[in-house]
């Protein structure tokens, strides 16, 4: 497998060094950045495949980096990497365009795997993000008839999300539901799309109500 190019954005130098060490030779780290301005400059100049993006950043936060590089780095994917469990921040970063969210306690191997997936255009859901998604879309099945397609999860997508939240890997999800890994990835992609595009009024309300988790 080719080595993916990565930019690490985090305001803690110690954490950046730690991630770099954990990733080792599995990826090629092009640059590091400590705030929004640096990050935008680095992403536009180096055009990495994947940006590991902290949710909380001096100068506006991870979502700002995604917005300000919009159109300037068309092939770059963002993977949110955060210690913050605040649902609104995580969902906000996803809605800004990040392809996934993992917590900072993730192991090196898992992180490399997540980078591979994001680089390939897939979505990456940690159990916690899957939980947020289920929470955000909770109750939509019952009122499915009146909702737009974008504003609800299908039964299948819900099942996939629940298994992810239960700690299943993609492979295990596929085996559990008797579907292919490719299908699991398709479901994840559509959930991510819904999360990003849904104008669902509850989603905003939920995020503001559930200010912290």
């Amino acid at each position: 497998m080719t080595r993916h190019t990565v930019v690490i954005v985090d305001d803690h130098a110690m954490f950046r060094a730690g991630v770099r060490a954990e990733l080792g030779d599995a990826v090629e780290v092009l640059a590091e950045a400590a705030d929004v301005d640096e990050a935008v400059a680095a992403v536009v100049a180096r055009q990495p495949e994947v940006v590991l993006l902290d949710v909380h950043l001096p100068g506006g936060g991870g979502a700002d980096v995604i917005r300000r590089t919009h159109g300037k780095a068309p092939d770059t994917k963002f993977l949110a990497l955060s210690v913050s469990d605040a649902a609104e921040d995580v969902i906000g970063t996803i809605r800004a365009g990040a392809r996934g969210y993992v917590t900072k306690t993730i192991t090196g191997a898992e992180l490399v795997d997540a980078i591979d997936r994001v680089a390939a255009g897939d979505a990456v859901f940690s159990p916690r993000l899957a939980g947020f998604v289920l929470d955000a879309f909770a109750g939509t099945i019952e009122v499915a008839a009146v909702d737009e397609d974008l504003d609800r999860l299908t039964e299948r997508e819900r099942e996939v999300m629940r298994l992810i939240a239960r700690g299943y890997s993609y492979k295990e999800v596929a085996a559990e539901l008797f579907i292919s890994i490719k299908t699991v990835e398709t479901h994840m992609g559509s959930v991510l799309r819904k999360l990003q595009l849904s104008s669902r009024h509850e989603l905003t309300r939920w995020a503001s109500e559930r200010r912290l988790l």
Partner: protein
């Protein structure tokens, strides 16, 4: 034995360096707490002091003046500002009880003493024939005592409950409701009646009525004059209180950092040679800090998610295996939810103890109709059919417990593939 917490409150004798100060003790008060405070200060039985005041009061009334003077001068015993920041913080967060609050006041002694005092005063008045000035004086004193008593009550409430802003009404009435208004009203009426009686003693009924009216008007006018000033004073007080709350919060932060982070860092330095311990300490600290920073419930496990997070902490502490909790929906922990919480605990403990997995995933989903919990590990797994009959943890604590409460427990495991325990608890419509 540890020192009872109430002693740390404000006993002036506990600090040998400080000069001894007398306080009124509203907690032990019959009237204003003067006698109780004085008794404590002098080291005498309260009853002696009270009897002394009574005797002095009957013999020429100096006891009354003495009592009133002390009531005005002595500060009421304070309750909030001399606690350790940690204790005060815990108190504000509801983790420990506040200092005792006397809700039910026994009015028996007050009534009895009052009756005896009136009786003796009446006899004296009859004997000496000075009825004209005496009754108004008694009524006036009673009215003033009632008003002062209300001021004490309002002050005490402000101390015990430091939430919310103070306005004029709250500063005067407190949250006492009907009793507070009644005390105020009765106090004013008694005063006016006393003034009327004095004028009645000297003249006819019409003059007394005019004097009474004048007294009421005088009180109203005083209210208009003092009102704006009182209002400004209360808004100053409110600001000062906000400042105090802010500084209390800063103290909370400092105390928390000291108690948790500094201690953990010290422990980590000591056990730097043991990566497992360091990791466990770091995780425990992270959990603690996270719940402190982000958990609006203040770590109080009265909701489902908080209870599960607490379980995760316990398992991690006991076996050094991290437990990741993902919770969708967050009902309060009711009687119906408690069994599934306990079963989850047992399942997570089992997973950490026996599976050898590096981490345990707990996923919980609560809907209005049911609660579901999945506890999953990727450890060694086992054959559920081959579990020995005498293994109580699984059967008694998980399966039987769930069935007793109308739920189900399902265990999926195969050797080498890890284990997943699925717990389901239907909730009645009652909730």
């Amino acid at each position: 034995m540890t020192t009872p917490l109430t002693d740390a409150r404000s006993d002036p004798r506990s600090d040998p360096g400080a000069p001894r100060k007398a306080y009124r003790d509203p907690d032990e008060a019959v009237l204003g707490g003067v006698a109780a405070g004085l008794a404590e200060h002098l080291g005498l039985p309260v009853l002696w002091v009270r009897v002394g005041f009574m005797v002095l009061a009957v013999m020429g009334g100096s006891g009354v003046m003495f009592y009133a003077g002390l009531w005005m001068v002595l500060p009421s015993r304070r309750h909030f500002d001399d606690q350790a920041p940690g204790l005060a913080a815990a108190e504000r967060q509801g983790k420990r009880r506040r200092g005792r609050i006397r809700r039910l006041v026994d009015f028996g002694p007050l009534v009895a003493i009052g009756a005896i005092a009136l009786g003796i005063a009446g006899i004296l008045a009859l004997v000496t024939g000075q009825g004209g000035i005496f009754w108004p004086l008694v009524l006036g004193i009673a009215g003033v005592a009632l008003l002062w008593r209300q001021a004490d009550e309002a002050q005490r409430e402000r101390w015990l409950d430091s939430t919310g802003r103070i306005n004029v009404v709250r500063a005067v009435v407190g949250t006492g409701g009907a009793a507070a208004y009644l005390r105020l009203l009765m106090g004013v009426i008694l005063l006016v009646v006393a003034i009327m009686l004095i004028s009645l003693g000297s003249g006819d009924w019409a003059a007394a009525r005019a004097v009474g009216l004048a007294a009421v008007l005088c009180l109203l006018g005083l209210g208009f004059i003092v009102g704006p000033w009182l209002f400004r004073l209360s808004s100053d007080l409110s600001e000062e209180r906000a400042e105090r709350i802010r500084s209390q919060e800063r103290a909370d932060v400092a105390a928390h950092l000291h108690d948790s982070v500094l201690q953990t860092l010290a422990l980590i330095q000591k056990s730097a040679q043991d990566p497992a311990t360091v990791a466990r300490l770091a995780r425990a600290q992270e959990r603690d800090l996270r719940s402190w920073l982000f958990d609006s419930a203040g770590g109080d496990p009265t909701t489902f998610a908080a209870a599960l997070r607490q379980i995760a902490g316990e398992v991690d502490d006991a076996y050094g295996v991290p437990v990741e909790v993902v919770c969708v929906g967050d009902p309060p922990v009711s009687e119906k939810v408690r069994p599934i919480v306990l079963a989850t605990r047992e399942a997570a403990m089992n997973a950490a103890r026996h599976s050898g997995a590096a981490k345990v995933d707990v996923y919980a989903e609560a809907t209005p109709t049911r609660v579901e919990v999945f506890v999953r590990d990727r450890g060694s797994g086992f054959d559920p059919g081959a579990v020995a009959e005498d293994r109580h943890g699984l059967r008694d604590s998980i399966v039987d417990r769930m069935q007793r409460h109308g739920g189900t427990a399902e265990i999926r495991s195969r050797p080498g593939e890890g284990t997943e325990v699925r717990l389901t608890q239907p909730l009645g419509d009652s909730r």
